[in-house]
């Protein structure tokens, strides 16, 4: 059964693009020999693509004229950046030296270890003071308590507990 013009016209693009099987292709070719309408469609398909190509090529000529600046990843070290950092450090050291020379030695600020030591001492002294206060409530332990208050004052002299202990010494 022969295919109608409508069926053939649906195959014409694939025929022009050589996408049809050998059987289908020869069927279309046979139809084209006897059908002028389908022949003109095929010619229009080819011509329009040719003209589209001309238009596209023309646009390409324009785009070929442009230059695309390509940003590049730099792998080399940024010496200028390092130089700026070094200069900054040198500047700080120099200013600091000049300032010390002009103003003189200032009071030494406590270190973190020093602060930590003070906290530990205050805690120990306070804990001991609380224990001695409990002991002092017993009449038999008055002497022991007194000795312990003195111990707190001598061992942890800078703590608030030592100040308290000093008031309780008889």
């Amino acid at each position: 059964m022969q295919k109608s013009c409508e069926d053939i016209s649906k195959m014409l693009v694939d025929y022009a693009d050589r996408q049809l099987s050998a059987g289908e292709s020869s069927e279309v070719a046979a139809h084209l020999t006897r059908c002028e309408d389908c022949r003109s469609i095929l010619m229009a398909l080819q011509r329009s693509l040719e003209l589209a190509g001309v238009i596209w090529e023309d646009g390409l000529v324009e785009t070929e004229a442009i230059r695309i600046p390509i940003p590049r990843k730099t792998t080399a070290p940024h010496w200028s950046k390092y130089a700026a950092i070094a200069a900054g450090i040198l500047l700080v050291v120099a200013i600091s030296g000049i300032w010390r020379a002009l103003v003189g030695p200032t009071e030494k600020e406590p270190t973190f270890a020093e602060i930590e030591r003070r906290i530990t001492e205050s805690y120990s002294a306070a804990r001991l003071l609380a224990a001695v206060d409990l002991l002092a409530e017993y009449p038999d332990a008055e002497n022991i308590a007194d000795r312990q208050y003195r111990y707190i004052v001598e061992t942890y002299p800078q703590t608030p507990a030592a100040a308290e202990a000093k008031l309780r010494i008889k």
Binding site: I41, Q46, L49, W56, T63, I68
Partner: protein
């Protein structure tokens, strides 16, 4: 235990070979600038648009790590990015700059195939029809056409780029081509 586990050693070799074969997107971009330019030109965008688009694509290529991708995959990715960028621009300004007469003038300067004035008039008329038709064509039909016929990609490759099957691509190509052909016939130009 001083021995190195053979599996670990093999894994390290693989990693080393992957690193050495790491794909550089920018190098591929530079090597494949021609097809990318074709896409932009095929979509009918102007030279200044093309410059912006290709610059954007180059920046994206620079930022993109090529690790674990083949050259082919990188190229597809670049096409996809260019097509998407073109579509954004295309939707914004759907136009073709040059008129048919100007195109013909330029062509006649380079090619001596149009000899008589009568042929020139016919060609100008035909070009104008096709140019107008391309300008009005829906992007879903124009993009596969540009990729297939101007960039010479296969239907399967076009499908991969536009995220559709090869048969869908063929369907769109058929539709687009018939629109162009019928427009020529309707306007009475004898091919």
């Amino acid at each position: 235990m001083n021995e190195i586990n053979p599996d670990f050693s093999a894994e390290m070799d693989q990693v080393a070979s992957e690193r050495s074969s790491e794909t550089n997107f920018v190098d591929i971009f530079l090597a494949e600038l021609g097809p990318l330019r074709k896409i932009v030109a095929g979509m009918g965008l102007s030279a200044s648009d093309a410059e912006d688009i290709l610059q954007d694509v180059s920046i994206r290529a620079l930022k993109q790590p090529g690790r674990g991708r083949t050259r082919e995959q990188c190229f597809r990715w670049l096409i996809k990015v260019t097509v998407n960028r073109c579509l954004t621009e295309f939707r914004r300004r759907k136009r073709f700059r040059r008129k048919a007469s100007e195109i013909l003038k330029r062509r006649s300067e380079t090619k001596a195939d149009l000899t008589t004035s009568e042929q020139n008039v016919i060609a100008a008329e035909e070009l104008e029809i096709v140019r107008e038709c391309l300008r009005e064509m829906d992007e879903t039909l124009l993009t596969p056409m540009v990729l297939r016929y101007f960039c010479s990609l296969g239907s399967r490759e076009v499908g991969e780029i536009l995220a559709m099957g090869p048969s869908a691509v063929r369907g769109r190509l058929r539709k687009a081509r018939m629109i162009l052909a019928k427009r020529l016939i309707e306007r009475g130009v004898e091919p």
